[in-house]
């Protein structure tokens, strides 16, 4: 609760931070659309996924308050993301050998 009261006191600061992150998210969207028009060959999809990951990181840490949550929450989310990556790596190590 202390942490939240503290945050509430700096509410104006929070509004500014949220708006800044929102502008960042819109900019990244514009970049990803612009880059899609350029033919980058095989790295096109990688670029799109990397930009989407950065956007998700911003939403998770700032909008979803993960930064101000306790370590337990961060470990939870970290483990979830880790297993998604592991699943994808295993999936493609399987298919790339077909």
């Amino acid at each position: 609760m202390d942490k939240h009261n503290e945050l509430a006191e700096h509410s104006n600061h929070r509004y500014g931070k949220y708006i800044l992150v929102w502008l960042g998210l819109l900019t990244l969207t514009a970049i990803t659309v612009a880059v899609a028009g350029v033919n980058l060959g095989s790295i096109t999809i990688a670029t799109a996924i990397i930009i989407a990951s950065i956007k998700s990181y911003l939403v998770l840490t700032v909008f979803m308050h993960l930064k101000s949550e306790s370590k337990t929450f961060k470990i939870f989310v970290g483990v979830a993301v880790f297993f998604i990556i592991i699943s994808l790596v295993l999936l493609f190590s399987d298919y790339s050998n077909m």
């Binding site: 939240h4 945050l7 969207t29 899609a36 996924i49 930009i51 998700s56 939403v59 998604i84």
Partner: protein, 207 residues
């Protein structure tokens, strides 16, 4: 008396953390639901690369981009509504929650026009035109309808949940000191946003 009050507040605090953790656990089940579909997409895309590229050409990038901007902005408004209520600005918080619902509605209106256009072009599951296409093409549209459809359903659920939160805020069930319900609704809405952040490039920007 003061110690009693202190204990009560401390108990409330623990309760809130648990509630948020419960919400996160629920969000992980959503991640499994959508994750499975993203894996399916990844494999089919890997197996039918050329078909996916051709099929994605019929996607309307403009509508996709506008919808991305709409959802990102709605994420901002719901985050601001929580900050506003914590700042004891109830009316402002209610307005921001209302704007979030309206953005959700705008997203769905765009989706309606987008799907109508695709269906008009004969790109719907089981249509004679789609069946005559290559299997990669059929798979692309199958995944498109299932994934964006399930995501759209989540947008509708999120809108209903936020409308309930507005009612709770009006009735003072949600107050600056007891805001966890609104926070949980916000978490859900942000997750729906994150899923769209990945759906957008995968379906619209791979041509």
């Amino acid at each position: 008396m003061s110690t009693q009050e202190h204990t009560a507040v401390a108990h409330l605090h623990r309760d809130d953390v648990r509630s948020r953790m419960g919400m996160w656990l629920f969000l992980f089940t959503e991640l499994i639901l959508f994750g499975g579909m993203f894996f399916l997409y990844a494999v089919y895309r890997f197996l039918h690369q050329a078909d996916f590229h051709v099929a994605a050409k019929s996607m309307n990038i403009l509508i996709g981009t506008v919808n991305t901007a709409i959802l990102l902005t709605s994420s901002l408004t719901i985050a601001l509504s929580i900050a506003a209520l914590q700042n004891k600005k109830k009316i402002l918080s209610l307005i921001l929650q209302g704007i979030t619902v309206i953005f959700g509605l705008l997203f769905l209106v765009n989706k309606y026009f987008e799907w109508s256009a695709e269906i008009h072009h004969g790109n719907y599951p089981g249509s004679p035109e789609l069946i005559s296409q290559s299997s990669g093409h059929i798979l692309f549209f199958g995944l498109y309808y299932v994934m964006t459809g399930l995501h759209g359903l989540h947008v509708i659920i999120g809108m209903v949940v936020i409308m309930f939160m507005m009612r709770f805020t009006i009735k003072d069930v949600i107050t600056p000191d007891h805001i966890v319900k609104l926070e949980a609704a916000g978490l859900y809405w942000h997750l729906v946003d994150i899923i769209w952040i990945f759906l957008f490039p995968l379906f619209y920007l791979i041509t």
